[in-house]
């Protein structure tokens, strides 16, 4: 599904990603861990097509198509979803109105009619129940005044509504309390299928107890320095990153 080859990207003169190789197949869950500032959010933004970052070398392919010339909204239409580490506030635009617009824009791009209102309402009801979201919450302005945890839950709600092919969850767990973490993780698990893939970016092993990864990668200084199975996350929890940093030098 996703194939990243020798990806170099940065901003202005600063190179942040320094040769990433990663392949994600349908049905898989990949976890990306790594110290602060190692480039995890940059990688997800580059996959999503944020133009601020310049790709200087290498490629990102989605289902065999090079995404280089593909705009962020087109990537979204193709099924790429990013749960933001820092979701953005849009005052005066309700969660419902926003998601309705997002869904209909994607449908339009695929040559479909707008989703009828009753169907939309049904879908909203279904997904908000799945994630235990109070309906009143949906009429509030998008992310405005939301608590950290509410913002994250709202990201997953949008993901549930949009049913992406490739979902990247950038530190969705930070800010969630223990109950919320379980609810969100269960939600993600329910949405998982053999046709879609998930990349989970996290600092904590705890989330991975719920969303069990097939692969764990460690990103350090813009490179994947180690990959392994789910037990790698446990090892990191125990030992930290220092031993890997040394390994990277070698």
């Amino acid at each position: 599904m996703l194939k990243i080859t020798d990806l170099h990207a940065g901003i202005e003169d600063k190179e942040i990603l320094k040769g990433i190789n990663l392949e994600v197949n349908a049905g898989e869950v990949h976890a990306i861990m790594g110290p602060n500032g190692s480039g995890k959010s940059t990688l997800s933004a580059v996959i999503a097509g944020k133009e601020e970052f310049e790709v200087t070398k290498g490629s990102v392919e989605l289902n065999g198509e090079d995404l280089d010339e593909v705009s962020p909204e087109e990537r979204a239409h193709k099924g790429v979803f990013l749960s933001f580490q820092y979701p953005v506030e849009i005052p005066g635009v309700s969660v419902t109105n926003f998601i309705k617009t997002a869904i209909n824009e994607s449908r339009k791009a695929r040559g479909l009619e707008e989703m009828p209102a009753n169907k939309m309402l049904k879908l909203i009801r279904e997904k908000s129940e799945l994630l235990d979201i109070d309906r009143r919450f949906l009429s509030r302005s998008l992310n405005e005044g939301f608590s950290g945890g509410e913002k994250k839950r709202n990201e997953i709600f949008q993901m549930a509504m949009l049913e992406p092919k490739l979902a990247i969850l950038d530190e969705t767990d930070s800010g969630l309390d223990i109950d919320a973490l379980r609810i969100v993780a269960n939600g993600v698990n329910k949405l998982k299928s053999k046709d879609n893939a998930v990349i989970v970016i996290t600092h904590y092993q705890r989330l991975l107890e719920y969303i069990v990864p097939d692969f764990v990668h460690v990103l350090h200084n813009g490179k994947i320095v180690k990959s392994g199975g789910k037990e790698l996350a446990l090892e990191l929890e125990e030992k930290g990153y220092d031993w890997l940093k040394n390994e990277a030098v070698v």
Binding site: A76, P87, P91, G92, T101
Partner: protein, 481 residues
């Protein structure tokens, strides 16, 4: 709803001002220039009684002694008042009984504007009094209104048919010598609308007037007078659009509202005059005096969405004369390219327990300048007056400007005045967030702008809100590169 999503999309694809066309209708135009003879000629053409002619001449006398104001935060080439023709009326002028009698070319114009009388007739609950250039051409729904005793007609007709009402109220809220443009308007006003709601009557439909400017080189001087008698209610809509033209077109209207005891007037405006092209050429100069007077327990709400004009100078105001009266001002002003807007309101608290609310939303894009100027004045006898003002500015890009000038004059210690102001910028992060959800940049901006403007859009009557939303989108398109 008047517009489907599909139509909206199509409109968004048109980058140029789409109402830029000119209809060739024979006009009966007075020679250019302004002097007493011209004023007498205007009055005569309109078959006015002598008192009206004298009223105009007196206003002209005042105007000659006045100077054009300089204090607004706008810059423009002053109009040459002697090179304007002050009267122009469509030539084929008989009063039409039905649409069939109306000049087909004119109907075609309405169709292009998307405000064909036919369509308007279908729009439930809206009676339309269309002002084509200076003379009212068509009036609908008059009968329904007449049954309730509501008078809704052109001001010229009112001068002839209801002189006692006009004589009593015209100039009572905006005196002839109030300001330069008001004086000019009083001297030369060509037409406009008149509305009277009798005691205790709730007007069953939204009254609406569409204004436009058609004849090259003729300024338009509308005069609107709305009187809501005791305990009555009326919602009045005003919307307009103009053909694009190379030379600047002057518009100096006067709107007077009178809300007697316990009456309520809602006055909504969606204004979409040609703002000038991308280089700042052309466009309408809009200098308007709008003011309402509230008697005891009365309420006046001004709601406006301003997207047009090269230069806008406009301060709908309320004089809260009666005790417990309420004044409201809800405004969205959009400026793009080289537009300049200096708008705001004045709330004059004279009575006890008077309340006013001001919500102003300014959106600036391109190289435009958008200023809010608001005055809250509390008179010494206005015990317990309250005001809440909120002025929010949204900037798009780095070359535009937003300015807020709140003036407060409180002469009574019990006054409670609150003022809040915010300035925000549409951020790249907001746009990217929307893009990531599959919403393209143009649509993302529309969404953000609508969210920003929501408090005001919500105050508009339904059918107007849709149109206003569409206008916001059209006027900002292409503003983010």
């Amino acid at each position: 709803m008047a517009y489907t999503e599909e139509e909206l999309k199509k409109e968004l694809e048109t980058k140029e001002y789409e109402y830029g066309f000119y209809t060739d209708i024979e006009s009966d135009t007075l020679p250019v220039g302004l002097n007493e003879d011209i004023i007498i000629a205007i009055s005569k053409k309109k078959e006015e009684p002598e008192w009206m002619t004298l009223w105009r001449l007196e206003a002209f006398k005042y105007w000659k002694e006045m100077e054009e104001p300089e204090w607004a935060n706008v810059h423009y080439k002053k109009p040459d008042f002697q090179s304007i023709s002050y009267y122009s009326a469509p030539n084929k002028k008989p009063k039409y009984n039905s649409l069939d009698e109306v000049d087909p070319e004119l109907l075609e114009t309405f169709k292009k504007l998307g405000i064909s009388v036919d369509e308007q007739k279908k729009l439930a609950g809206v009676a339309v009094d269309i002002v084509m250039d200076s003379v009212s051409v068509a009036t609908t729904f008059k009968k329904t209104l007449a049954e309730k005793g509501i008078i809704f007609c052109s001001i010229s007709e009112a001068i002839k048919e209801h002189p006692e009402l006009v004589k009593k109220y015209i100039g009572s809220v905006v005196p002839k010598r109030d300001n330069f443009y008001a004086a000019l308007n009083s001297a030369v006003f060509s037409d406009g609308s008149f509305c009277y709601i009798p005691k205790g009557v709730k007007c069953p439909m939204e009254l609406s007037t569409y204004f436009r400017i058609n004849q090259a080189g003729t300024g338009q001087f509308e005069r609107t007078l709305v009187i809501a008698d005791e305990g009555s209610y009326v919602s009045y809509l005003e919307g307009c659009t103009a053909p694009s033209r190379d030379e600047n077109q002057l518009h100096a209207a006067v709107v007077e509202l009178i809300a007697l005891d316990d009456a309520e007037i809602k006055y909504s405006t969606v204004q979409n005059w040609f703002p000038g092209d991308k280089e700042g050429k052309g466009g309408v100069y809009n200098f308007v005096t709008k003011r309402g007077l509230c008697e005891k327990n009365a309420k006046i709400s001004w709601t406006q969405v301003e997207t047009g004009s090269a230069v806008t100078w406009k301060y709908p105001s309320c004089i809260l004369k009666g005790d417990n009266s309420i004044g409201e001002f809800y405004s969205i002003a959009v400026t793009n390219n080289f537009q300049q807007a200096d708008t705001g309101t004045k709330m004059i608290h004279l009575g006890k327990n008077t309340r006013s609310t001001i919500i102003s939303k300014g959106i600036s894009a391109g190289k435009s300048q958008n200023s809010y100027r608001g005055l809250v004045q509390v008179n010494s006898r206005a015990e317990n007056a309250r005001n809440f003002s909120q002025c929010d500015s949204l900037l798009m890009g780095n070359e535009c400007g937003a300015h807020t000038f709140p003036y407060i004059e409180a002469k009574n210690k019990t006054a409670q005045i609150e003022h809040e102001a915010t300035t925000s910028k549409i951020g790249e992060d907001q746009i990217f967030y929307c893009n990531q959800r599959g919403i393209d940049t143009e649509k993302a901006i529309a969404l953000i702008v609508n969210g920003f403007s929501k408090e005001v859009l919500n105050k508009l009557p339904m059918e107007f809100a849709v149109e206003a939303q569409k206008l916001l989108e059209i006027s900002l398109e292409g503003s983010v590169g």
